[in-house]
């Protein structure tokens, strides 16, 4: 997809996600991608930029601002319309699931907006996956720290070496069909309570 003549505006409460989408659209050959700040004067900014397509995150409160620009009022400088293609409900569902809504200037060919939406959905889903992985990684790190602390408590309380403390927790976890981190949490909590 090379779209040297198109201008796409991106509005997203998350600057990181907006940057990922900007990069994705630029890589797909969109000539001009502009991230607009999600502020109260958005309609003036959109009017000044004069984009062909506005891609906006569905959780942005500014979506309603764009609704006003949809030609239902006689005072709109630059009418846009929400991109709704009734023949393509799965596409719209995928877009909303990924967190995307798009507004297009009247007259733009549906195929062109569809390829922009494809890129946006891919990028947003990738971002969500990254975020999930980051959360999981943080959780794992917290678990490891917890296990280290529990190991230390056992070593002190029972005078056992490190490997044995770990083996003890692992055996307990296997017998009770729980995670080692859960056993470690119980030990740490108990130790905190017993002081």
């Amino acid at each position: 997809m090379t779209e040297p003549s198109l201008t796409v505006a991106v509005i997203d409460p998350s600057p990181a996600r907006a940057a990922i989408l900007e990069e994705g659209l630029a890589a797909a050959g969109i000539a001009r991608v502009v991230i607009l700040p999600d502020t109260a004067d958005l309609s003036a900014r959109v009017a000044a930029l004069n984009p062909d397509v506005v891609v906006i995150h569905v959780e942005s409160p500014s979506r309603d601002i764009l609704e006003q620009m949809s030609g239902l009022s006689r005072h709109v400088e630059r009418p846009v319309a929400m991109f709704v293609d009734r023949s393509d409900v799965p596409m719209m569902q995928a877009a909303v699931d990924a967190g995307i809504s798009a507004y297009v200037v009247d007259g733009l060919h549906p195929q062109r907006i569809r390829s922009i939406l494809d890129v946006a959905i891919l990028r947003f889903n990738a971002f969500a996956r990254l975020q999930r992985e980051l959360l999981e990684a943080r959780g794992e790190l917290a678990d490891r720290k917890l296990i280290e602390r529990a190991k230390g408590i056992l070593m002190t309380a029972k005078g056992m070496p490190e490997e044995e403390a770990y083996r003890l927790m692992r055996r307990k976890a296997m017998n009770e069909k729980r995670k080692i981190a859960d056993i470690a949490r119980a030990i740490v909590t108990a130790a905190d309570l017993l002081g």
Partner: protein
């Protein structure tokens, strides 16, 4: 049965929130996840795509959604109204000073507004007013307020949509000169020192239908849900419950504001300026049995307003389609 219901954090979502958190829905065997939405457009689209099983919705937006003139055309049913009234017109302090009506009387205030708006339009710097969505009673109340002051709103004033949480900021920054919004946002703009409440919605259009419960037309759970929301609405209407209701609505996972602001809106004792001037309006926002049954006359009123605002061209076929959205029969079947 488990349902996801959408709402926008406003005082008039009370009946829906209480239906869930007050246990009325559980009594009907319903497990409900309340989903807070940050825009009406997203709430409408999620309802259209089946991502929500029902919603707290601007009555005219439900009509526009069913007609396919706002978002995808959606088969909806409105079995119950959630409230009447609740909005107010707030202007910036400089605009109020220029209006200088010297009275709270609606006609005098509206004429003062009309005079300033005409002056400004004549100087090529028209006033800018904020509303919450093109298809909202707020938009139409601004039109009626202007008309009362002898002004054609569309001709003389620039209209913009501002998300309610940003409205006080927009007023302070001078992006807008005034707005019409629901509770608690007028009170918040007054509290912040930037706004002056000029008129109550219940004065501009008495008994104005505001939010409705909108469900997919084929919703299986509607009987129990309507019963639960109706009982919750009656609970919300009882002044003895207003302290509890204010605390619930004000909590961080709903509105996230000071409970006193909600309490005043519920009581109809509204602080209108930074000096603490209070005005009483018993109908400032109404819940309960008197507001619930959806009436076809309400659809007709909105269609008339939409046509006056240039949003639709009225035809008998369109009127018929819009009227089919309101389902007093479902209400009677559930409450009867």
């Amino acid at each position: 049965m488990r349902l996801a219901l959408g709402y926008v954090p406003l005082v008039d979502a009370a009946a829906l929130i209480v239906a869930v958190e007050g246990g009325f829905a559980a009594e009907e065997g319903l497990r409900i996840d309340l989903v807070r939405e940050s825009s009406w457009a997203t709430l409408r689209d999620k309802l259209a795509l089946g991502l929500l099983d029902g919603a707290h919705m601007l009555a005219p937006l439900a009509i526009a959604s069913a007609l396919g003139i706002s978002g995808p055309e959606t088969r909806l049913a409105v079995p119950l109204g959630l409230n009447l009234n609740g909005n107010a017109v707030t202007v910036s302090r400089p605009l109020w000073s220029a209006m200088d009506p010297g009275s709270e009387d609606l006609d005098i205030v509206a004429r003062a507004f009309g005079r300033v708006a005409r002056d400004r339009a004549g100087q090529g710097r028209p006033l800018t007013l904020g509303t919450v969505h093109p298809f909202s009673s707020h938009t139409y109340q601004l039109g009626l307020f202007a008309a009362r002051g002898g002004l054609d709103l569309e001709a003389a004033v620039r209209m913009v949509v501002i998300p309610p949480p940003r409205i006080a900021e927009a007023l302070q920054a001078g992006h807008i000169d005034g707005f019409c919004v629901g509770s608690p946002w007028n009170g918040l703009a007054v509290e912040a020192g930037y706004g002056r409440i000029a008129a109550f919605g219940c004065e501009i259009a008495p008994d104005c239908p505001e939010k409705v419960l909108a469900l997919p037309a084929d919703a299986a759970a509607s009987v129990g849900l309507v019963r639960a929301v109706s009982r919750a609405g009656r609970w919300c209407a009882d002044p003895r419950n207003h302290d509890d209701l204010a605390l619930l609505l004000a909590s961080p996972h709903h509105l996230g504001i000071a409970p006193a602001l909600v309490r005043r809106a519920l009581a109809g004792t509204v602080v209108v300026d930074a000096d603490g001037t209070r005005r009483e309006a018993p109908d400032f926002v109404s819940f309960g049995v008197a507001v619930e049954r959806p009436r076809i006359a309400q659809v007709d009123w909105f269609l008339e307003r939409m046509a006056a605002a240039g949003q639709i061209t009225l035809t008998p076929a369109l009127t018929e389609r819009a009227r089919a959205l309101y389902r007093p029969d479902l209400y009677d079947g559930a409450i009867g």
